[in-house]
């Protein structure tokens, strides 16, 4: 295997793992649920994209044909992450979870909660 391909795959793998770690760190450190929702849905999805593109590059170079399995998983995660975040935010609004003190426009949360059909 060429040196440059190996270097690119290594950088992609380590960068993806660092993004996944940053997402989980946000899940642990941030103050309330609505801010905690940001870490896993954005940083972790980006990290998974990096990892899967690195794996795709490696397999394509090892096997000699274009490998598209990983792109399928990346696409699926990119589609499902916003849907999951939306459903979790709706659930949290419905359960009246605590909102951090610094949040602006808290009246909007009340208005969204009191809509007729959650």
């Amino acid at each position: 295997m060429e040196f440059w391909i190996e270097l690119a795959v290594s950088v992609l793998l380590v960068a993806g793992a660092i993004f996944v770690l940053v997402g989980s760190l946000g899940l642990v450190k941030l103050p309330d649920f609505y801010t905690r929702l940001h870490g896993p849905t954005k940083a972790t999805t980006l990290g998974m994209g990096c990892l899967l593109v690195g794996s795709m590059t490696l397999v394509t170079n090892q096997q000699g044909y274009l490998s598209l399995h990983e792109l399928l998983i990346t696409l699926f995660l990119l589609i499902t992450a916003p849907v999951t975040a939306h459903m979790l935010a709706k659930t949290a609004l419905h359960h009246k979870l605590d909102i951090a003190e610094k949040t602006e426009d808290k009246a909007l949360a009340k208005r969204a909660r009191e809509r007729l059909n959650p």
Binding site: L7, L13, V20, M48, L51, F76, T84, M87, T91, H95
Partner: protein, 89 residues
């Protein structure tokens, strides 16, 4: 160089799985626990992909795809259940 990168990435993903587990145990509310479980299945896909690279087979991608689909469906079902108290109305 590649094996070192795979080792570092595996260690980082394992650390983040332990952080998620801490949030599952501590999480003050149910949506927190669902969010932590959702992150855990995504991290397990990462671990499977890294294991597949380390053992240089393409056998594990189907398992990763299955976990991705079933994980999304289970998260959606749990959200729906604690939002409405029922799955199929």
């Amino acid at each position: 160089m590649l094996s070192t990168a795979i080792f570092i990435a595996t260690v980082l993903v394992c650390v983040s799985m332990f952080l998620n587990l801490w949030r599952v145990f501590k999480g003050p509310s149910r949506p927190d626990r669902i969010l932590a479980l959702d992150t855990m299945y995504i991290n397990s896909i990462a671990l499977i992909i890294l294991f597949g690279i380390a053992s240089s087979t393409t056998l594990y991608f189907e398992a990763a795809l299955l976990i991705a689909m079933l994980g999304f469906v289970s998260t959606a079902a749990m959200c729906k259940y604690i939002l409405r108290g029922d799955l199929i109305e």
